[in-house]
Symmetry: C2
Subunit: 146 residues, 2 copies
Amino acid sequence: MEVLMGHPLTDDLGFLLSRASGAVVRATNTALAGHGLRVRQYSVLVLACDAAEGVTQRELADVLGLDPSQVVLLVDELAGRELVERRPSEADRRTRLVLATAAGRALREAAERDATAAVEAPLGLLADAERDRLRDVLTRIWTAAG
Amino acid sequence: MEVLMGHPLTDDLGFLLSRASGAVVRATNTALAGHGLRVRQYSVLVLACDAAEGVTQRELADVLGLDPSQVVLLVDELAGRELVERRPSEADRRTRLVLATAAGRALREAAERDATAAVEAPLGLLADAERDRLRDVLTRIWTAAG
DNA sequence: TATTGTTATACTCTATAACTATA
DNA sequence: TATAGTTATAGAGTATAACAATA
């Protein structure tokens, strides 16, 4: 492996980003597996839980950076397990609000604890200030790409 | 979308990491498409080009964070287009060294220019010092996850 | 005309297991 | 026994296009 140290590729931010992201997602998925969730389903569940009035699927797609057609499937899956439900919006009959059920909220709490703990393996040695900076930089990358 | 601003999920480093990574990979893939490459094939090509003595597939798997079985397919693809070739190692007859051909080197140069330019959209507003810090942090995340 | 949600489809990526040939 | 490479397969993620209902 000696020949590959300090290589241009291993200095490439895109490469480093996807490799680090993959590692963290893998760790999170492992932690969520016991709850029958994966990161994408979990993300939808969390957003539904925290939106008192419900979230539209369009909003979910925008925040998560997914195509609306993918959101349909994720919500289908969660709804099938009765972790969320779709409720027609009164203001706009095209939209359907996604809301968490009591079971969904309970599962989210348990899953969140495990997910948070698991991510400490790859992220544990980052100081609070570094986390804040990383958060800021990643958000700016996302915004600039939008 | 108002209800989702400053939300716990959008502060989660794992979530931010995968969203930012996705954006950069998407931009890179778009830039590489004209060369008939995607990031993974491109990464293998770059590493093969820069290893004068060739790289083993095991080394590629370790650096890229991929399973060896995935590397086989990536190298097959590049070899099929005669961008790299497999040469048996004299030291260890189990290993096969991957080396870039002249065509592979030429394609890498052209592809690298486009990929670098494309990534400036999402990463352009990061100052040099920020890039260095980000590089460092992402490398540490990968190392800690290893 | 534009937007929300939906269905369908094809392709890429990821994860595993099992096998071979060499060490 | 362990390692490098290979084959095969299934599941998850991504990317598009087209459509109905509603705005």
